[in-house]
């Protein structure tokens, strides 16, 4: 059902955990639907220098979370914003169709984290 890449990121998720000094936090999803992702980013000079995540959800949700944190590291905020659900799914070698929407929370959580960072900057 899942690709090798999904199983790899699910079984050995990268960048798991809380980030106490995060510059931006984005939470997406809802446990009643089955998936929630919380994404933490650290930003220096408009660049994401570190990312971490916590996820409640199925194998796809955890793999997507892990993959997004890997993809964003070293990217500028604008580059990061260009990451879409499809980009993440493709990087994982594809997701089962029924998981494309419900479990593919990475790109949306990322957008929220960047928004959160920008809001904090304006204050």
């Amino acid at each position: 059902m899942y690709t090798k890449e999904v199983m790899d990121h699910f079984s050995n998720p990268r960048n798991v955990g809380e980030m106490p000094d995060a510059d931006g936090i984005g939470t997406e999803g809802n446990p009643v639907c089955g998936d929630v992702m919380k994404l933490f980013i650290k930003v220096t000079d408009n660049k994401i220098v570190d990312a971490k995540f916590q996820t409640f959800g199925c194998g796809a949700a955890i793999a997507v979370s892990s993959m997004v944190t890997e993809m964003v590291k070293g990217k500028t905020l604008d580059e990061a914003l260009s990451i879409s659900k499809e980009t993440v799914a493709n990087a994982l070698g594809g997701l089962p169709p029924q998981k494309m929407h419900c479990s593919n929370l990475g790109a949306d959580a990322l957008r929220k984290a960047i928004e959160d960072y920008k809001n904090k900057q304006q204050k």
């Binding site: 009643v32 919380k38 916590q54 409640f56 959800g57 955890i62």
Partner: protein, 398 residues
């Protein structure tokens, strides 16, 4: 890696003796049971022998057994066949909220065909109160159908009492006993059932073989019209090898039932007491009135499919009622019916044991299961609680 199959409620391997019994009917005894020459007569005899041992497993008469293709077919047949045979007497049917999909969806079909259906609630253990059944009966009620044991939460229903009420009121009573026949003693007489569905693969028979018990003298409308097979009530050339396999498996189940129950029960109790030592793991279903090999839980703060994948990675195969693990992406209606909050229902996991399960396997499982829970809780944002995430509703994402 060793493989530990703990999903016996999904299906079972074929018993070697059942396979042995089936083989000649794929080969030399290939005849059509309706044919009047020797190979046909051999096939006919085999079916009738299988009917006798299948009937004997539930203490029925041979002529009260109709062979079908599955438990789902038996359930469809029972609901639609009895509804259509009795629609002149009334158009009201009573079922529960925790029925199998083959009952629920047949009931929905009947609603579209002009019948009214009452879906009875259950208590927190999934038990249906016979008094509630009695209250739901109207002058229009023609059929009551209640599941004997839940494959999802293991709870065994008070079928004998419900059957007694139905009999007193003169209402036909069906029970879906797919999860119970072959796993606990099922005797049709004290259960007071007029119809009872069961399937061979639940007790080491082949897939593709099921049966409907139909009490002598009960009228039913066929699902499948055609020839005179199964007394004209279920047409189509018989699946002779599968029927023979069901008969053999029934014979073995009757012989070994108590041994099987004793074996799985102690292992299951060991599994449950160990799992409940882990913080925020809860048993679902009734603690005592449950299938002997059945252990089902909800685990707080993590999701079922993720648990199944990690367990499978350790060679352990199990089931879940979480939304993500179902193709429909909906949390199990059974868990919701027993009052499990939807976010907690995501952490559903079900383990079912068999006579082949060993002490060593349970010890290994008991070691692995808490590790997997911890591993996923370390990833979960809810490790310290649900926060404001409780009691949300789910609207599908685009």
């Amino acid at each position: 890696m060793k493989e530990i199959y703990m999903d016996h409620v999904a299906t079972n391997p074929l018993h070697p003796e059942a396979l042995e019994a089936m083989l000649p009917y794929f080969k030399e005894h290939f005849g059509n049971p309706l044919s009047l020459y020797e190979p046909g007569i051999k096939a006919r005899e085999a079916i009738e022998n299988a009917r006798a041992s299948t009937a004997s497993l539930i203490n029925a008469k041979a002529n009260e057994i109709i062979f079908t293709s599955s438990g789902a077919e038996s359930n469809n047949f029972a609901l639609k066949g009895i509804a259509f045979a009795n629609q002149n007497k009334g158009k009201h049917i009573i079922i529960s909220k925790i029925e199998h999909h083959s009952i629920l969806n047949s009931a929905r079909f009947l609603e579209k065909s002009g019948f009214a259906v009452t879906y009875l609630p259950v208590d927190k253990y999934g038990v249906i109160d016979p008094a509630i059944v009695e209250k739901a009966i109207t002058k229009e009620t023609i059929l009551i159908s209640i599941i004997h044991a839940s494959p999802e939460i293991g709870t065994i229903e008070p079928i004998a009492e419900i059957g007694k009420i139905a009999r007193q009121k003169g209402i036909i009573f069906h029970t879906d006993a797919v999860a119970s026949v072959g796993n606990i003693p099922v005797d049709i007489q004290p259960l007071n059932a007029d119809l009872l569905s069961f399937a061979a693969h639940q007790f080491y028979g082949p897939k593709g073989a099921g049966a409907l018990y139909l009490r002598e003298g009960t009228r039913i409308v066929p699902l499948i019209y055609g020839g005179i097979q199964e007394g004209g009530r279920r047409a189509g050339t018989e699946n002779v090898p599968a029927i023979v396999g069901m008969g053999k498996a029934a014979e073995l189940a009757k012989r070994d039932l108590q041994k099987r129950i004793n074996h799985v029960k102690s292992l299951r109790d060991k599994l449950i007491s160990n799992a409940l030592k882990v913080e925020k793991v809860y048993l679902t279903g009734h603690p005592e009135q449950r299938l002997p090999g059945h252990a089902s839980f909800v685990v707080e703060y993590i999701e079922g499919e993720a648990m199944l994948l990690l367990l499978a990675g350790k060679g352990i195969y199990a089931a879940s009622g979480s939304a993500c693990s179902s193709k429909a992406l909906k949390a199990s209606p059974v868990l919701i019916s027993i009052g499990t909050p939807a976010h907690l229902a995501q952490g559903s996991v079900v383990f079912t044991l068999s006579e082949g399960t060993t002490e060593e396997e349970i010890n290994y499982f008991n070691e692995v299961f808490p590790q997997i829970i911890n591993q996923l809780r370390k990833i979960s944002p809810f490790a310290k609680g649900w926060g404001d995430m409780e009691d949300k509703t789910c609207t599908p994402r685009k």
